[in-house]
């Protein structure tokens, strides 16, 4: 995560043009659909849809930046989730340590897909929504401006800090310091030389950024207007409606017994 600090990709796509609120409704619908179903065939639908949409809007570089997390969580989840459920169906693998049944595999695959769908869904939102749009969207939902500003700024800053951590790690490695060790205490303590420069760089920014904000008349108490305010168009109503229908429909189907293993 050391290239461009921002996850937002400036493109002219249908999703980019939507209001942040309608995108939030859509993502909520996708999250609910991914959450309520357990059968991997059902969870695959929201996962595949968000992944295709992410690639279509130019979010492939963002996915690549977080791909190690997605792949690690998917594989580890797939390996660990069978321990969280009871066996059932045909036995697929029999070892001296235990057996792996069809139900365990389906359960694990469904859960891993759910985790991947959440990450890809979150990436799709930040890829198509600029920091200013996130803040304006949250504000229009009635949240206090200062809170929205803090969330938007944190979303903008964390890729930068991840990048700084990587730079510091490389600099420390060049001086012969590699975090590691078999003892967990030694391992944890070996991260301290990496953490200090990241902390201090981050905190040093507070003073200068606060001054820059105040120089531009930053005031959390007054009523604010937003540059380039996006209207809530018919397309937004349709998208928000689809998001709500997706959430309600998924819950209703799940209650009818569909999509379970």
């Amino acid at each position: 995560m050391s290239a461009s600090p921002s996850l937002y990709v400036d493109r002219e796509t249908v999703l980019h043009r939507l209001n942040a609120r309608s995108k939030l409704a859509l993502i909520t619908g996708v999250f609910v659909a991914a959450y309520v179903f357990g059968d991997p065939r059902w969870v695959f639908v929201p996962l595949a849809a968000t992944f295709l949409a992410l690639v279509a809007v130019g979010g492939w570089p963002n996915f690549k930046r977080l791909s190690f997390i997605v792949v690690a969580l998917f594989l580890i989840g797939f390996a660990v989730w069978p321990a969280f459920t009871h066996g059932g169906g045909a036995t697929l693998l029999e070892t001296p340590l235990g057996t792996l049944t069809e139900r365990e595999v389906l359960f694990a695959l469904g859960r891993s897909e759910r985790i991947a769908a959440f990450i890809v869904g979150g990436l799709l939102f930040v890829t198509t929504t600029s920091n200013e749009e996130i803040v304006a969207g949250m504000r229009s939902l009635g949240l206090p401006y200062a809170f929205c500003f803090a969330v938007g700024t944190a979303l903008r800053l964390f890729p930068t800090f991840l990048g700084s951590a990587n730079t510091v790690r490389q600099a420390q490695a060049a001086r012969g310091h590699e975090p590691g060790g078999r003892n967990p205490v030694t391992l944890l303590r070996s991260y301290i030389p990496l953490m200090i420069p990241v902390f201090m760089t981050a905190i040093r920014n507070v003073q200068t950024q606060a001054m820059a904000l105040e120089a531009r008349g930053f005031d959390t108490r007054g009523e604010r207007s937003f540059y380039n305010e996006q209207p809530f168009t018919a397309a937004d109503w349709a998208t928000a409606g689809f998001g709500v229908a997706l959430a309600v429909g998924s819950v209703a189907l799940r209650l009818q017994g569909y999509g379970t293993v």
Partner: protein, 280 residues
């Protein structure tokens, strides 16, 4: 408690909220692959952040930890109904540090958390603060997931408590030793940023009672919650994971948790802070 609202008037405190949240996420995401319970929690050395930044940035660290944990939930695939309790739990994880430091009576070191003067007494005080903050965070999240019927209290309560405490105890003292003087010289400690009338005006006795109460209730909640699961709810220790997933929702845990949460809220409302007086 008023400072949790009035801090939003200060630009530097708002920036600190954003920076604490961003640093917290940046330290949590690289470890997201070290899964303990998939989709629920992972190994988190970044859990030292709410405790040490709580001591330095006070209310800004509480809000920053809550926001940072929520962002991490989304990007680490842990987002779900439990994230609401993760938000509240991490808010208290950052909050307890500045409420407790200096207010623990004979257990307090009586100096700033820089590990220069009276280091052994400071370590004892820091350990108590870290244990209390970790316990209240673990108890709120474990109670929340019990309420949602996702996991028994004993499973998450134990994992989160140990995860939080170990990271804070190992990494906290050296990080405070190295960063506190620098941040103090930058004038970014919360007593330097908040107006004097924004800080809670609490008598020494009441502040001490509230702090000791928070310490005891936090530890008692997590210990009793785990004990109830293991005893009365008959959740065996280190049970087969398949036995525990989706086995929350015990009425006794929900009632006990609700009472404990109300007590924590009440004590937080009447508690004070001490660092502004230690700074002189």
């Amino acid at each position: 408690m008023r400072e949790l609202v009035t801090m939003w008037r200060d630009t530097r405190m708002i920036m600190l909220v954003a920076v604490v949240a961003a640093v917290y996420v940046a330290l949590l995401i690289p470890f997201a692959g070290f899964v303990i319970i998939p989709g629920i929690t992972a190994v988190r050395p970044g859990n030292v952040i709410p405790v040490i930044f709580g001591l330095m940035f006070g209310p800004a660290a509480a809000w920053g930890s809550a926001i940072g944990n929520l962002i991490n939930d989304i990007f680490a695939g842990q987002f779900g109904p439990g994230s609401a309790f993760g938000f509240v739990g991490n808010f208290f994880f950052g909050l307890l540090g500045y409420k407790l430091w200096g207010n623990l009576g004979p257990l307090s070191s009586g100096v700033e958390p820089d590990f220069r003067e009276r280091p052994v007494r400071q370590f004892v005080e820091f350990a108590l603060v870290a244990v209390a903050a970790s316990a209240v965070c673990a108890a709120i999240i474990a109670w929340g997931l019990e309420l949602l019927g996702l996991f028994p209290f004993s499973v998450l309560g134990t994992i989160i408590f140990l995860n939080n405490t170990i990271a804070a105890l190992i990494l906290g003292p050296p990080l405070l030793y190295l960063t506190y003087p620098r941040i103090k010289s930058m004038g970014l400690l919360y007593p330097d940023l908040l107006h004097a009338d924004d800080l809670p005006e609490t008598g020494a006795t009441r502040a001490q009672t509230a702090a000791v109460g928070l310490l005891l209730v936090a530890i008692a909640w997590v210990v009793v919650g785990i004990a109830v699961s293991l005893g009365l709810q008959d959740v065996p220790f280190a049970a087969d994971q398949a036995e525990t997933l989706g086995e929350g929702g015990a009425t006794l845990q929900i009632i006990l948790g609700a009472i404990a949460f109300l007590i924590v809220l009440g004590l937080t409302a009447i508690s004070g802070e001490r660092l502004s007086k230690l700074l002189g």
